[in-house]
């Protein structure tokens, strides 16, 4: 790159960092949602509320001296970040109502959970019930993280109220073992083979290994687990919304794995041979005999357009302290085979285009390469500063 271009890139790189730090400060200083507007919906029979502990309230009826119910807040880690639920409990320790007061979930997934009978099925549950998916609560296909977080956020405050306010023998939380199942094993294998296998293999073997990795990634990380690396994961990492490792080890392996491999080998193994959406596009490229196309005239413009969109998306997520708010990827629509009309239309456009141009999403729209560019910039600038050249 020429000197003028390099200087512009440095100035814009620094501006990006400054604006993101400012956005993070704005986000941290924004006040979170108040609880009191939800009191009446949570316990319609009560008309006076007294604080009895941290985010815990006793509810009274004017004439009665005894509480008619209790309200407490529970939180847990959803897919996009923290999920906060206000729960009301009657004097017998049964859940009366539950309202999600704060969440950072991707809108379409959150709507799917809220439109399901999950909340209704939690009403009337006793503090003594197991609150277990598959036992006394039904799972919602494709929204496991949100479902689990919602159930945990209702169970925990209801048991806390039973124990602290009602003197009832609520069962203690059993320590949860770290979930290490087939998604985690496959992810580790894909990243390991992508890093070491691809390094030492050559020629046809390398090509075969890459296709094997891509097809396995598409089947497992895509259609079975539906959790490719997305903007939500990167936002969560940047905002410090790091989930409970017991429930979301997969997130740690994916986010930290890809980052560590890049920092140590300087190679983006994920995009090259693991990304399930990249694999889906390559399959279509084979079908349509599509070729790579590099627009010489607009190359710079496309590169900066993608970076600007990612910068805007990050800025919004930081200001709203909501990792899912600016997520725009089409992956989950493909891998869950469901989505809004707009999402389906956008996905169709990308997939149709993949028949004519190889990996158009990866080349022009995906946010991951923009982060890769920025990490390279930080590494290069850091090196220059340390070496003083």
């Amino acid at each position: 790159m020429n000197k003028g271009g390099s200087r512009t890139e440095t100035v814009l790189g620094v501006c990006t960092l400054v604006t993101l730090v400012i956005a993070a400060f704005i986000g941290l200083n924004r006040s979170s949602g108040a609880l009191s507007p939800h009191f009446h919906t949570l316990l319609p029979g009560a008309d006076r509320y007294e604080k009895s502990g941290f985010e815990t309230y006793r509810a009274f009826k004017q004439a009665s001296g005894l509480p008619v119910g209790y309200i407490a807040v529970g939180d847990s880690d959803g897919f996009g970040g923290p999920l906060k639920v206000a729960v009301s409990v009657d004097p017998n320790g049964r859940v009366v109502n539950a309202i999600v007061v704060e969440h950072s979930e991707t809108r379409s997934w959150f709507d799917r959970v809220m439109q399901s009978p999950l909340i209704e099925s939690l009403k009337g549950k006793s503090y003594n019930d197991p609150f277990e998916i598959g036992s006394d609560v039904d799972a919602i296909t494709g929204a496991t993280y949100t479902t689990r977080a919602l159930i945990q956020s209702v169970k925990e405050p209801s048991r806390r109220i039973a124990r602290n306010e009602l003197d009832l023998p609520a069962p203690d939380e059993e320590p949860t073992p770290i979930l290490f199942g087939y998604p985690e094993i496959v992810l580790v294998l894909l990243l390991a083979v992508g890093t070491f296998g691809m390094k030492y293999a050559s020629g046809k073997a390398k090509k075969r290994i890459r296709w094997l990795l891509m097809l396995s990634g598409m089947a497992v990380l895509g259609f079975m687990v539906n959790h490719p690396l997305t903007l939500v994961d990167i936002n969560k990492f940047l905002m410090g919304y790091w989930p409970d490792v017991h429930y979301q080890l997969y997130w740690y392996l994916l986010t930290f794995g890809v980052l560590l491999i890049f920092l140590t080998t300087n190679r983006n193994v994920y995009c090259h041979s693991v990304c399930p959406f990249g694999a889906a596009q390559e399959c279509l490229a084979v079908l349509g005999k599509a070729k790579s196309f590099q627009s010489k005239q607009y190359h710079g413009f496309f590169k900066w357009l993608r970076r600007s969109v990612v910068w805007l998306a990050l800025l919004i997520a930081l200001i709203f302290r909501n990792p899912g708010i600016s997520s725009y990827e089409v992956y989950s629509t493909l891998f869950s085979l469901s989505g809004t009309n707009r999402e389906v239309l956008f996905l169709t456009l990308v997939l149709l285009f993949s028949l004519f141009v190889k990996r158009p999403w990866c080349r022009y729209l995906c946010p991951v390469p923009a982060f890769e560019d920025y990490l390279r910039f930080v590494k290069k600038t850091g090196k220059k500063m340390v070496l003083g050249t």
Binding site: F293, S295, F320, S327, Y328, L349, Y364
Partner: protein, 35 residues
């Protein structure tokens, strides 16, 4: 030459339409959070 120009226009249209989709999606999400 002509086919490259056509492909250039084809790719440019794809990027323009996709960016519009992305921006609409982001604005829609913000509005859903605010209201």
């Amino acid at each position: 030459m002509k086919s490259i120009l056509n492909k250039q226009a084809f790719v440019a249209s794809f990027v323009a339409v996709s960016t519009a989709f992305i921006l609409v999606e982001i604005v829609g999400n913000i509005l859903a959070v605010i209201f």
